[in-house]
C-alpha cells in the first residue's frame, strides 16, 4: 500500500440539501430498516433497462451524470444529486466550507434552452425576490424567470429575441 492510499471503513452519500446517508464497507447489498435487512439488487435486462429491485418492486434507475465523487441519479423518475465522501474528505469539506465567505452576488442563469422573449429589468433596477426578470420561451411555453433574491441588477446579459442555452448567464444581481 502506498502513501496515496487510505483505509476506509465507511462512506457517506450527501444530498444537495446536506442530508447524509452512511454505508459501511465493504458495501452490502442490503439496507437495514429497523430490525430487518432488506435485499437490494441492481439489475438490468432488455425490457426494463437498468433497475433496482427492492421489496419485490422494480424501480427504474438512470445514471445521469457522474464526475469525480459526484453522482446525479434518476431513481423512479426523480433526480438526486449525491457527493460520496470518506470520513476524511468529509472533514476537509467542512473546513473548506467554513472558510468560504458568504456570496455577494447572484447569477441568474437560463434553467432551460430557449428564446428570450422579454427582459423586464435594466442595469441599476432593484428587484425583489420572486419578481420576474426575464421571459424565456421554450417548448411553446413562456416561462417567467424569477429573481431568487432581493438586490440590484448589476449586469444584463440577456437580449430580446436571442436564443440561449441551458445555464447561460442572463442577469447578475448584487445582494
Amino acid at each position: 500500500m502506498t502513501n496515496n492510499k487510505l483505509q476506509v471503513k465507511k462512506l457517506y452519500s450527501l444530498t444537495s440539501e446536506k442530508k447524509k446517508y452512511s454505508f459501511s464497507l465493504p458495501l452490502k447489498h442490503s439496507i437495514r430498516i429497523g430490525k430487518r435487512e432488506y435485499e437490494v439488487k441492481l439489475k438490468s435486462d432488455e425490457k426494463f433497462g437498468t433497475y433496482i429491485l427492492w421489496k419485490n418492486r422494480k424501480y427504474p434507475v438512470e445514471i445521469v451524470r457522474s464526475r469525480q465523487n459526484k453522482y446525479e441519479i434518476l431513481f423512479n423518475d426523480i433526480s438526486y444529486t449525491f457527493t460520496v465522501e470518506t470520513p476524511f474528505s468529509l472533514q476537509r469539506m467542512k473546513v473548506l466550507n467554513s472558510k468560504m465567505g458568504k456570496a455577494e452576488k447572484e447569477d441568474i442563469k437560463a434553467p432551460m434552452p430557449g428564446k428570450i422573449i422579454d427582459v423586464l429589468v435594466r442595469e441599476g433596477s432593484s428587484v425583489l425576490r420572486g419578481e420576474p426578470v426575464v421571459i424565456l420561451e421554450a417548448m411553446k411555453m413562456q416561462n417567467e424567470i424569477l429573481s431568487p433574491v432581493n438586490g440590484v441588477v448589476t449586469k444584463v446579459v440577456a437580449r430580446v429575441n436571442t436564443n440561449v442555452m441551458k445555464d447561460d448567464l442572463l442577469v447578475e444581481i448584487k445582494l
Partner: protein, 501 residues
C-alpha cells in the same frame, strides 16, 4: 364516402390518432416528413409519406397554408385534417381548403372565425343569454383604458388575448398598480403568439373549476353534447389531467350546462366536433369562457365513457352525413382519467426537458388506453410541445378509476428524459384530489411538493451512488481509496470542484 385520402396537417400523437381511425374506415392517409423529426412514429403508420425534409424553412410546414394545399394536391388527397394546434383554428386555412376543393375536417371558416375572436364570441354568447363573467365590451386599446374598465368591473380582473387560446397572453391583475406592466406583457405576448395584440378584460373568477362540454354538430343543423370534462388540474393554464365526467356536476347541472353549450354552437351553425369551456364557481354558477373549434387533446376521456370515436364523427360530418346519435342516445358509462405525460422536469418547476427517449415501456391492461406519438429512439425536439404520452385510464366509478390510475402510473417506464410521471403519482394520492375538492388554483395553492418519492427512495438512490463510487475508486484487494488526484490539490481548487456541480 366522398373522403378517400386525408392529408394530416399535423404530427405526433394526434397524427397517429387520426391514422388509426382513418385506417378503420378504409380511408388513406398522407403525412409529412420534416427535417426536425425524420424518424417520427406517425410516419411509419401512414399510407403515403410526403418528404419535406429538403425544405429548411423558418416556419414549420404545419403552419404554411400554401404549402399544405400544394402537398394535398400533389399527393391527391381530397380532405385535410388539421388535428389540434398549428392551423386547427385558423379560419383562413379552412377557407383556403374549401376554395381548393379540399374537404376541411372541421367546422366552417365562419364558425372558426367567430369563436376564435373572443370579443365576437362574447357578443354572440351575450346575445344568446349565456351566463358570462362581466367584462369589457370590446378590445382595450391602452393601459389607461384598462385601468378605468378594471375599476368599473372590480379587481381581480383577467387580461386575455382576443385571438388567444391555450393560456397564452393571459394575465391576472389584482391591483391597479400592476395593471400597466401586465397590460404590456399580455399585449406583447398576444402579438407574438397570435399576430394580434388586441386584448380584452374580464372579471376574474377566483378559484373556479374548469368544466368543458364536448359537442358534435352536423351540416343539417343537428347539435348534441357528449357530457363534460373536468380540466381543473392545470398549471399556468396548461391542462395536466382531465376527467370525464366531473364530480362537481349532477344530472340537473349537466343538462343545463349542456343545453347552453348546444345553444352556443347552434348560434354559429357549428358543425364537426367542438368544445365549449365554462368556469364553475363555488356556488355552482357557471360562466361561458370560450369555444374551441377543434378536436381537443383530452378528447379521449369523452370517447372512453361514451364509446364514440370523435375522429370518426368528424370525418363522417365532413363527409356530409347526418349525426348518427340523438341527445337521448348518449349515455355516460364509468369514469375516465387522462394524465398528460410531458417531457418536463417537475423538480425544476415543470421546465421543459427535451431529449431522446432511450426506452419506453407502456402497459397494455384492458383498463388502460395509451395515445402516443413516440417510441424508443424518438427525439423530443424543443420546437414542439412537450407532451409525449397520454395515459387514459378507465374505472367503474371515480374511486376505481383513481385506483387503476395509481397502478397504471407505476407501469409506465420512460427513460432518457424526465417526465411529469412523479407529479401524477403524487396527485392521485393527494387527499383533496381523491375527494374531488380542487379548483384551477389547486396546483399553485394546495400542493407543497410537486412530486412523489417514498421515504426510502432517496436512501436507495444514495446506496446506488455509493456503489458506483466504490466500483470506480476502491481497489479490489483492499478497502482503500486512491487519493492521488485529490491529495495535492490546493484548497481553492478543491473548493471550486465541490461547488461546481
Amino acid at each position: 364516402m366522398k373522403i378517400k385520402r386525408i392529408l394530416i396537417a399535423n404530427r405526433g400523437e394526434i397524427a397517429v390518432r387520426i391514422i388509426k381511425t382513418a385506417r378503420m374506415m378504409n380511408i388513406e392517409t398522407v403525412v409529412i416528413k420534416t427535417d426536425l423529426e425524420p424518424n417520427a412514429m406517425y410516419l411509419s403508420l401512414a399510407d403515403i409519406i410526403y418528404d419535406d425534409t429538403e425544405e429548411a424553412t423558418e416556419i414549420p410546414v404545419f403552419l404554411n397554408i400554401e404549402k399544405l394545399i400544394e402537398i394535398a394536391h400533389k399527393t391527391k388527397a381530397n380532405a385535410v385534417h388539421p388535428g389540434y394546434g398549428f392551423l386547427a383554428e385558423n379560419a383562413y386555412f379552412a377557407q383556403k381548403c374549401n376554395e381548393n376543393k379540399l374537404i376541411f375536417i372541421g367546422p366552417s371558416p365562419d364558425a372558426i372565425y367567430k369563436m376564435g375572436n373572443k370579443t365576437i364570441a362574447r357578443k354572440i354568447a351575450l346575445a344568446g343569454g349565456i351566463p358570462m363573467a362581466m367584462g369589457s365590451e370590446g378590445n382595450i386599446s391602452n393601459e389607461e383604458e384598462a385601468v378605468v374598465i378594471a375599476e368599473k368591473i372590480g379587481y381581480p380582473v383577467i387580461i386575455k388575448a382576443a385571438s388567444g387560446g391555450g393560456g397564452r397572453g393571459m394575465r391576472i391583475v389584482r391591483k391597479p398598480e400592476e395593471m400597466e406592466k401586465m397590460f404590456i406583457i399580455a399585449s406583447k405576448e398576444a402579438e407574438k403568439a397570435f399576430n394580434d395584440p388586441s386584448v380584452f378584460i374580464e372579471k376574474y373568477i377566483e378559484n373556479p373549476k374548469h368544466i368543458e362540454f364536448q359537442i358534435l354538430g352536423d351540416t343539417k343543423g343537428n347539435v348534441i353534447h357528449l357530457g363534460e370534462r373536468e380540466c381543473s388540474i392545470q398549471r399556468k393554464h396548461q391542462k395536466l389531467l382531465e376527467e370525464a365526467p366531473s364530480i362537481a356536476l349532477d344530472e340537473n347541472l349537466r343538462n343545463r350546462m349542456g343545453e347552453m353549450a348546444v345553444q352556443i354552437a347552434k348560434a354559429v351553425n357549428y358543425h364537426s366536433a367542438g368544445t365549449v369551456e365554462f368556469l364553475l364557481d363555488s356556488e355552482r354558477n357557471f360562466y361561458f369562457m370560450e369555444m374551441n373549434t377543434r378536436i381537443q387533446v383530452e378528447h379521449a376521456v369523452t370517447e372512453t365513457i361514451t364509446g364514440i370515436d370523435l375522429i370518426e364523427q368528424q370525418i363522417r360530418i365532413a363527409n356530409g352525413e347526418a349525426l348518427m346519435f340523438r341527445q337521448e342516445d348518449i349515455k355516460l358509462n364509468g369514469w375516465a382519467i387522462e394524465c398528460r405525460i410531458n417531457a418536463e422536469d417537475v423538480q425544476a418547476g415543470f421546465a421543459p426537458a427535451p431529449g431522446i427517449i432511450e426506452s419506453l415501456n407502456l402497459p397494455s391492461d384492458p383498463y388502460i388506453r395509451i395515445d402516443t406519438g413516440v417510441k424508443a429512439g424518438s427525439s423530443i425536439v424543443a420546437n414542439y410541445d412537450s407532451m409525449i404520452v397520454k395515459l387514459i385510464v378507465k374505472g367503474t366509478d371515480r374511486k376505481n378509476a383513481i385506483k387503476n390510475c395509481k397502478m397504471a402510473l407505476d407501469k409506465v417506464w420512460i427513460k432518457g428524459t424526465k417526465t411529469t410521471l412523479p407529479f401524477f403519482r403524487m396527485l392521485v394520492r393527494h387527499q383533496k384530489f381523491q375527494d374531488g375538492d380542487f379548483t384551477t388554483a389547486f396546483i399553485e395553492k394546495d400542493i407543497e411538493k410537486y412530486f412523489l418519492n417514498s421515504e426510502y427512495e432517496e436512501m436507495l438512490a444514495a446506496w446506488l451512488a455509493t456503489k458506483l463510487f466504490v466500483e470506480e475508486n476502491l481497489n479490489d484487494d483492499s478497502i482503500s481509496i486512491d487519493f492521488k488526484n485529490g491529495k495535492d490539490m490546493s484548497p481553492w481548487l478543491l473548493n471550486k470542484r465541490i461547488n461546481q456541480f
